[in-house]
Point group: none
Chain length 429, copies 2
């Protein structure tokens, strides 16, 4: 079954707003197993909208329209869609009452043009709008279904989730479910190489890699009669990915971010962490503080942009800075060690590099970034050479720093566990 | 002149990514006075793309395509657009060399399919891609111009700004020029109220406010035969805005950000600055470090998430924290004073607040944020109550902090100038 999306709004054509509705609706349709081949945006122009709707009716089974359901003269989506479907408009008393209640509750005055929103095509399904005055509408004929949704995301999203999703679900005998597995510490092509055999032979379920800044996400997708069957098909593929990527997988929950995983590890093992940042100037700390409730584990951080600050706040030796320079493995290591000491923290992550556009040399080009991590007596460092602009280089640095931080914690816990096992074995001898 | 946008990418149809390119290109075209009536999204499907391109060629003067210029078999935008324009593909040696250099610099291996990207339609204009391997392309025939751009925003945006914008500008007989005046320290409705008389009577030029996080941008737009005439029309309106808003205007350059203005002031007056952040956890410092070359003025910053860190690093008194709490005007002031002292800086900006979603109380709700600024002996504080989620509250806090920092510097300089004038007057008496 094919679905087509038409977003109506001059503000989209002028670039005043980003079309987040399109991404939302597309993702839901993909989950439902509906094939979307076309998305369009048109302005509040009756001729062009009508022409496009006729074309869409020829080529698609379901047409979803968003926007143009407001009370003003410009808002014509409903009128034109009704004409294309050959339906006349009639007033719906329930909708009229809902508009009245909505406006009264908000203390707004009802103007005459508001009642335009109480008109609906004959024989349609009316979708209640709990966040606005424009009702959603579903019209059906032998070939086509047209679904009209209000444009504001805070009205469209709940209406879709609560009413449209189940309607579309009933049309589809087969649904598509997917699961996301998120990796850090591996590049996209390396990740793809590791699963090329799976990709090349896949049918149902399928797996596909997506590159993110410093991360790779793998999406497993299965088509089945119902959700339970789909996830039963996904499970062995997920197991296989876990077997192949092991600890590189940091979560299988789409809502969970890398900093959330790190925060959870810190909390679980009662580790405190601090940060010592040069070129990222606080971005790493800011990502950790993204996680609400991290205050027990992250109490303070240092931004040491100058060499003096690296010496004063982190105790990096003057000798090291002179001999190897601020952007060096040695400095990154001393920043991490010194930061942990200054903050009396178990762990410290350090970043020092050249984010550009100025400051690069042949020997130390723009994009060269050293990441350090001190963790309970051990020091790790990683040399990186990133491409991109200043802000991209800084984003990559932060992602790599979080990855190294996670790795250091996992190593520490692992060694601790091995030691316990050895001691237990000794005792049992 | 009409322009039409076609974005190619299955990931858009699946809702994996939001189509920010469409908003970016639409906004630029609107600025150029080009009329956009259609935007479409199609997948990597040759038949549908070709059909759509033929249709677009019938109805639009300029067609901009983004995406589908990659090295794989799926990427077919260039091949199909060339066919529609009746051009054959030939290898461009300059592009081949650029690909070679780009890949070598990143240490990537060049595979055979990379060379596909060196093929360009005969007689086309090649747009250099400094951030990727896919060149942009402009094809022309008697009726139509087709512009092909790479899909990734970090490649598309600079290519558009540096090469496509001026090309489109040259096509337009009547152009639309606009100038942006950026304000901080005033809300959107307050700003609008101050210019309501101008808005209500405007024809050409026009002025319109745009709300940004913690800022308001006013865009003056004029339509004229050429750039010189347009800017002559814009000038008196700009003067009027400057008269009405005075120091609230921080720049009239669209490329200049608030942190760049602050950095320039710091540099000009040889002031050093430091930061003392709680709930923003480094975001303020990170925005300052966005400005390349700020190292002379910003040497170090403190992230003091816990009360202990506020006492230890900034010398906030235990008494103050106990009596007024961490989120208070008193703590913000002591953080600012203490931060300046610790860093031996002329100025220190502090932020302490409740970003949520947890941690709010009736007395101190989520969104309550105190900003402090110590500047050469004076201490300013500002109480704020923001709405929105955690990340929005933090963004607003940083914008307000930069605004307060700018105000403190301007005050300081102003007083200094007044003193000099007084002394000069005395001497002259």
């Amino acid at each position: 079954m094919t679905v087509e999306l038409i977003c109506v709004g001059t503000e989209l054509l002028l670039g005043n707003i980003v079309n987040t509705n399109a991404a939302f609706i597309s993702e839901k349709c993909a989950m439902l197993g509906l094939s979307m081949y076309y998305q369009s945006v048109v302005g509040d122009n009756p001729g062009r909208l009508e022409h496009l709707l006729h074309m869409a009716k020829e080529r698609s089974d379901v047409i979803i329209l968003s926007g143009g359901l407001g009370p003003t003269q410009d808002d014509l989506t409903k009128e034109i869609a009704a004409r294309v479907m050959d339906k006349s408009l009639v007033e719906d008393s329930k909708v009229r009452k809902a508009i009245q209640e909505f406006m009264t509750k908000r203390g707004n005055t009802i103007t005459e043009n508001n009642w335009k929103q109480a008109l609906v095509p004959e024989d349609c399904i009316v979708l209640h709008n709990s966040n606005g005055t424009a009702p959603g509408i579903i019209m059906e004929d032998e070939d086509t279904r047209i679904i009209l949704l209000p444009g504001p995301p805070n009205e469209l999203i709940p209406m879709f989730e609560e009413q449209v999703y189940s309607y579309l679900h009933n049309l589809q005998p087969e649904i598509i479910c997917s699961k996301m597995v998120k990796l850090c510490g591996i590049g996209e092509s390396a990740a793809e190489t590791k699963i090329l055999d799976l990709i090349n032979t896949q049918k149902n379920p399928t797996v596909a890699p997506y590159a993110k800044t410093g991360e790779v996400h793998l999406r497993i997708t299965a088509k089945a009669a119902n959700e339970k069957d789909a996830f039963t098909m996904i499970a062995p593929m997920e197991e296989e990915l876990k077997r192949r990527f092991g600890n590189l997988i940091y979560t299988d929950d789409p809502q969970v971010t890398l900093e959330m995983v790190v925060a959870k590890l810190l909390k679980k093992y009662h580790f405190t962490v601090t940060t010592a940042e040069s070129c990222t100037g606080g971005l790493l700390a800011a990502r950790l503080v993204n996680v609400s409730g991290i205050s027990e584990n992250f109490k303070e951080g240092y931004i040491t942009y100058s060499n003096d600050a690296k010496e004063k706040l982190l105790g990096v030796s003057h000798e090291t800075l002179k001999t190897y320079g601020a952007v060096s493995s040695q400095t990154a290591a001393e920043m991490a060690e010194g930061g942990a000491k200054a903050a009396k923290a178990d762990i410290c992550v350090s970043i020092t590099g050249i984010a550009g556009p100025e400051g690069g040399t042949e020997e130390k080009p723009v994009g060269l970034v050293y990441i350090g991590c001190y963790c309970k007596g051990k020091v790790y460092t990683k040399k990186n050479l990133y491409t991109g602009n200043r802000s991209k280089i800084r984003e990559y640095s932060v992602a790599t720093a979080l990855t190294l931080l996670r790795k250091a914690i996992l190593n520490e816990v692992n060694e601790r566990n091995e030691k316990t096992t050895r001691n237990l074995n000794k005792m049992n001898k």
